[in-house]
Each structure stands twice: as structure tokens, then as C-alpha cells.
Symmetry: C2
Subunit: 304 residues, 2 copies
């Protein structure tokens, strides 16, 4: 198989795009998919100071490298969650990655803020993945606001986005269907939020990370078993194998023709953001989610 662009031997086959590339041409392809996402959804302008959420996994590290190569002013943000095994590895990898490549890095340490995830999990009778996500988003916002960043970029990829969309669709959840997308404008104190990798799947990101020689975290979160749309991802993979390009067609079709139908109905119902009465962070409902988690933790016998 030859590279579609330069006719050298191909190393990356991309059936979804009915093509194959050598490493250098694959890098070009990869960056162009990001540029297309950025352009189609007004994600970034050259003047932006971009805060990039770095979990330490392949997607977020690939995103950081790609945005830097495209000339954006990027700073890393790592939320260290205190989860045994995975958090230490992730923090070390992100720290070394940024040090080696000269990227600025901010670290938020949730255990130091009274929110070590294992303790939260032990004390709260709630699905921990939802609580952990709430905590991460809270500190994403806070770090962006306090550091004066205009935009927060996350490494969500096409598989993440289509699995989430599929879950929202089979439930026909109008609020989520009105809100899901690769770019969320700044509003009420929240920075703009963008997902520049939304056109690129797990596989493309793994290829980019591998071919760029990135060392990335691979220890799964011990709490994530069976979580996070694993079944939906397998199902969408079946669809993609039968009909290459099905995932991006599903997602792009949603953005073009699905979301507008739900936006029109939900616009009236959306609540304006207000400052949290306790911590000041913008929220739909005061106190904000994290202050409510803190209040619940404080009510337990062994309060932090």
C-alpha cells in the first residue's frame, strides 16, 4: 500500500477516509483534520491563550503537540486526583512531557483541596465517574479564569464524542442533544471550551502519539471498569467497519441537522449562569456542584 499523497510506502491505513499515509503525510493529515475542526467551529484564533487539559493519555498529549505545531500559545493543565496507581503515573508522565518539550504546566492537586477521589468515592453514595467529572470541570474552569486563559481545550476524540452522542440519542435527551458539540462559546464567566480532536478517532490519535514517540499513561483508572460508553464504542465500531466514515457522518449530521432541532426547543428553557454563593465560580444553580459535594462530605461522620 502506498501513501496517497507522496506514493512512498504507507504506514498508517485509514479505512474511514479510504486512504493510507506514510508518517510525514499522516502528520499533515492529522493537523489538517484539527485545522478543519478549528475553522468549522470557530474554536481558536491566533491571539488565544489556550489552556490544554492534560490527563496524560494519548489524546491529550497528542493534542498539546499538535496545537503547538500549529503555532498556538498553549499551557498544560493537569488535575491530579489522588487515585492510587493511575494518578501518580499520570502526573509523572505529564510533568516529564511538559519539561522535555518546554511546555508551561499548571497542576491542580485535588487531595490538597480536600477532594481526593478515593475518599470522595468512599463517602458519597453517587456514581464516582460523574462526581469526578464534575470536580475536573470545576477546576478546568477555575484554572482558566484565574490564569486569564481565553479557551480551554480537551482531548475528546471522535470515539468519545460519538459514544456520548449515541448515549444521548438513544435516550432522546433534549437538553443534552441541544448542548453537545465540539465548541462551547464563553458564557457567564466560563471560558470557551473546544475539542479540536473531535474529527480524529482513538486509532488516529494512537498512531500520532506512537509515531511522535510520545510516552503516555496507560494505567486505566481503577474505577472506570465497564464505564464510559465501552459498549457504545464497540457498537459504533461495528457500524464503522460495515460502513467506513459512519462515525463522522453521524456526528457531522447531528451538528448540521440534529442539534438545531433541539436547540430551538431548549433555548427558552436554559438557565443563565450565576456566581456560586460559596466559591464564586459560575454555575447554573448556586451553590455549585463542587460546593455541594463539599457540603455532603462535611456531613459525613469522618468529614475531611
Amino acid at each position: 500500500m502506498k501513501c496517497r499523497r507522496c506514493k512512498e510506502p504507507a504506514q498508517v491505513a485509514l479505512p474511514s477516509h479510504n486512504t493510507a499515509f506514510c508518517p510525514d503525510c499522516f502528520f499533515l493529515f492529522y493537523l489538517r483534520q484539527i485545522e478543519r475542526a478549528v475553522k468549522d467551529h470557530a474554536m481558536l484564533v491566533p491571539e488565544d491563550r489556550v489552556l490544554v487539559a492534560l490527563s496524560g493519555g494519548k489524546d491529550s498529549l497528542a493534542l498539546m503537540v499538535a496545537l503547538a505545531e500549529l503555532g498556538y500559545d498553549v499551557t498544560g493543565l493537569h488535575i491530579s486526583l489522588g487515585i492510587p496507581g493511575s494518578s501518580d503515573e499520570a502526573r509523572r508522565i505529564v510533568t516529564e512531557f511538559c519539561a522535555q518539550r518546554g511546555f508551561a504546566l499548571e497542576i491542580v492537586d485535588t487531595p490538597a483541596l480536600g477532594l481526593a477521589i478515593p475518599e470522595v468515592k468512599a463517602r458519597l453514595r453517587r456514581p464516582i465517574c460523574a462526581v469526578c467529572g464534575k470536580i475536573k470541570r470545576h477546576y478546568f474552569n477555575l484554572a482558566a479564569i484565574e490564569g486569564g486563559y481565553s479557551v480551554l481545550a480537551t482531548g475528546h476524540n471522535l470515539d468519545d464524542e460519538t459514544a456520548r452522542l449515541f448515549a444521548n440519542t438513544i435516550r432522546w435527551d433534549p437538553d443534552y442533544l441541544a448542548g453537545q458539540g465540539p465548541s462551547l462559546p464563553a458564557a457567564g464567566g466560563f471560558p470557551r471550551k473546544v475539542k479540536p480532536l473531535y474529527r480524529l478517532g482513538e486509532y488516529e490519535n494512537a498512531c500520532f502519539a506512537f509515531l511522535k514517540g510520545l510516552t503516555y499513561a496507560t494505567t486505566p483508572c481503577p474505577y472506570s471498569q465497564g464505564a464510559s460508553f465501552t459498549g457504545h464504542k464497540a457498537l459504533l465500531e461495528t457500524l464503522e467497519l460495515r460502513s467506513p466514515g459512519a462515525k463522522i457522518a453521524f456526528y457531522d449530521g447531528f451538528l448540521a441537522r440534529g442539534r438545531p432541532a433541539f436547540e430551538a426547543r431548549c433555548a427558552a428553557a436554559s438557565r443563565p449562569l450565576v456566581p456560586c454563593a460559596r466559591c464564586g465560580a459560575p454555575t447554573n444553580e448556586s451553590p455549585c456542584g463542587v460546593c455541594r459535594i463539599r457540603a455532603l462530605l462535611a456531613e459525613t461522620p469522618d468529614a475531611v
Copy 2:
């Protein structure tokens, strides 16, 4: 395993409903699912003269038996398409079924009307399943109008409906998403159209047909290979196995929260029905689809 209702030994397990029944209690369950569909979607009233489209397959014969048991005034309608192998078997089975059970039956013979499907297929460069569907719907409407029936009932089941919905959803086709549903009101000369089996899957219908001792057609249409959402049905079956009840939840959720979003946007765009200038049948665009098929056939060298 015991029957949930009468505690006799169960013969039909229904994991989607987390239950199992003996034959008699399964018949009750089956009829109640139909009654619920009829009630929730205003499908039928006792005064209706119901024309039931009978293909000869398990679903349509089961529907006929069930509607008769529920006390509706039913007449069968069979469209004989002239397809070698499957059409002769279907016509014989439907004829014997109606004769044995004392059901009135109307037969439309498309070859006698110049529309034998094999000839249409040979001469028209179009997907034959779409053309055949158009011809069948045309004569469903015509037979209902000419016979003074108030409603046309078809045997579409939950698997048919969810596979079609899934196809429309992954394409995010707003017109189809605004229009799909188990009950279409009478409009502009078209009879009301209803799908009383939409809550019951292939499996439930096969059980009903088997336990009622129905002889039904099993020869597949020779043109249907790989067609008709086979892949989507397998995919939805995977979802159902992982999460029993997922199919009906997907469909009911669509009717409650999905379709309204698309209806609101598409209402303005829908065109009123007009009589076909050639045959008089109600149509969105004159001449109607079948008259256009006839015109295309007349243009070919070997016109019928």
C-alpha cells in the same frame, strides 16, 4: 421458569420485559401490547373498517388474528407482485389463511396492472426495494379508498420500526424524523395508517404465530439480500441483549422527545396532498410515484 401471571410452567421467555409466560397468558400479554399501542396512538376505534395488509409473513398474519380477537372489523389485502418463488407461496398462504378463518380478502395483482416486479426491476435502473415499496403503498391507499376502509393496518414490528428509526437517526434526516411513527392520521384522501405491532418484536410475533399454529410464508424475496436494515437490526439486538428494553425505550423516547423537535421545524415545509393528474390518487407531487414509474416503463424499448 414459571408463568409470571398464572404460575404454570412458562413457555415464552421475554427478557425485554423481564418476564415469562405460559401460552395463554402470553396471548393476553400480546393482545395487551396491541391494545396499548392502539390506545396510546389513537390507532383504531370500534367503528373502523380496518384493511390489514397481508404479506403472508408471520407479522401480518399474527396482526390479522389479533385484531380479529380484539373485535375489530378486519378485511385482508394482499398485493401479489409476480416475484418468482416468493409471490406464489405468499398468495397461496394468504388465500388459505383467510379461507380457513373466514376473513374477507382483497387481492391486487400487480402483473395484471402492468407492474410485475421482475419486469420493473429489469427495466428500471433504480433500487428495486424502494420502487416495490412505492407500488405497494400506492395500492394499499387505492384499495382502502376504493373499498371505503377508514384505516390501513400493517404488520411492521418493533424491530422493523427501530431499525428504520436508527437509519433515519444516524443520517439525522429531519423530514423522516418528523414523520416516522406508529400512526399516521388520514389526510388529503389517504386513509389513516397504523402499525399496531410496533411494541412487539420479531421474536414475540414469531412466538404468537407459532403458538397459534399459523402457517406463514418463509421464502425470502430473492431481491431482498442484504437489504432492509439487516445490519442495523443486528446492532440493535446487541444493544437489547446488553440492556433489555433498550429498543422500545429508544422508540418511545423518540416519539415523546425526539419527533416533536423535528416536527416543529418541518411543519412549515410539508407540502399539501393533491390528486395525481393521471390516476387521481392523492400525492405530494403530481403525477404520483406509480404513474411516474409507468411513464419510465413506457419509455423503455420493450414497454409493457
